[in-house]
Symmetry: C2
Subunit: 219 residues, 2 copies
């Protein structure tokens, strides 16, 4: 039991930590041992003052004229992000997107492993997706216990997403990554992050549209 009080860290800072981590990993791969806040800032696409402020929340300061120690800072951020141990994830929805994510493998090196993929559709149950066999969604409580699941990934249709979220919460999962284009209603203490590809596309389209209109005005 520790009496150490953790400071409240702004969400925007938390959202940038994985980006710093990614940049530091790139630097490490290039064999770099030191990096200035300005170098990190350029890689991360923010300004140097923001980098220094963000990292100061974790009691991590660079040395003037020398910069940050890359391996040390990487370790600190990994520890803060809980990357020093594994996070077993379950995917609910074995359609195109769910299957692609299960096979993707792109997050294993960051501590995330998809240990199960499930669906309500009997025609999908039993099928092989990469190294996993699709299980029926009814088995969710057992799967959560068996693998000590901490994150549920929803890749169902919008219509099915709320039911799946309820089942995940009921099974004890408190972190949900939602790919379904639906706003989920979850109890206090459960965290949902939405990944809506269409929303990202629409933000791009919005700017394209404005750009086109502005150019039309200039002509």
């Amino acid at each position: 039991m520790s009496t150490f009080r953790r400071r409240v860290i702004p969400d925007a800072t938390i959202a940038r930590l994985p980006i710093y981590q990614r940049c530091l990993m790139e630097l490490e791969e290039d064999g770099r041992k030191k990096a200035s806040s300005e170098q990190l800032a350029e890689l991360a696409g923010v300004n140097g003052a923001k980098v220094r402020k963000d990292l100061s929340y974790f009691g991590t300061y660079g040395t003037r004229g020398v910069g940050y120690d890359v391996p040390h800072l990487l370790h600190e951020i990994r520890r803060e992000l809980g990357m020093t141990h594994d996070w077993p994830c379950v995917i609910i929805g074995a359609g195109n997107l769910g299957s692609a994510l299960a096979k993707f493998g792109g997050f294993v090196d960051r501590g995330f492993s998809v240990v199960a993929i499930m669906d309500v559709d009997q025609s999908k149950v039993g099928h092989q997706v990469g190294s996993l066999t699709v299980r029926h969604e009814d088995e969710l409580p057992e799967v959560v216990k068996e693998f000590d699941i901490s994150i549920g990934i929803i890749t169902t249709t919008a219509a099915a997403a709320q039911d799946v979220a309820d089942q995940l919460v009921e099974a004890g999962v408190r972190s949900i990554l939602n790919f379904a284009p639906a706003t989920l209603d979850v109890p206090y203490g459960v965290l949902v992050r939405d990944v809506d590809v269409a929303i990202e596309l629409q933000i791009l389209a919005f700017h394209e549209e404005r750009r086109a209109l502005s150019e039309a005005e200039i002509v």
Copy 2:
């Protein structure tokens, strides 16, 4: 040629427009003709004041006691988002993720259509992905012209992403949706939106870790 001056709209507001759109579509499907800012706020997971402020940028005001007109507001937002015409997209990288996105079809109803999928890997070129045949990345300039591509979607590895971004920009594409875990360097005027699933997972993990530590302290 219009002399109408568009107001500068905060990025945060732009990011919420597609969410309002999604909520309004849900209301419309339920046959609702009117919605108060509070109802919209609840669906969108923000507060009512924010909804009113956001929508006021577009000169759209609700009627006190009656609320917003759902079909009218939906039309206004669609127009603002450029959803009243089609946005042809090209996917570069015909791996698991790129293929899944191409087949997904979840954005067609919002005006986005994947009209081409490309790869450098000769073993993938010529293969069928849904209704599309994978084309070689070298043909990118022709594809961009042929389909009047406005958005490029990068689903390559991190190592290949910058090259692909350069090729897209060279071909005249100014909007990029990047799924590769790499920070892209693009000229001024080109807009990149990053979708990094691992980053979303890490944000969830960060909060899980803090929660676990806090609970350990209480015990």
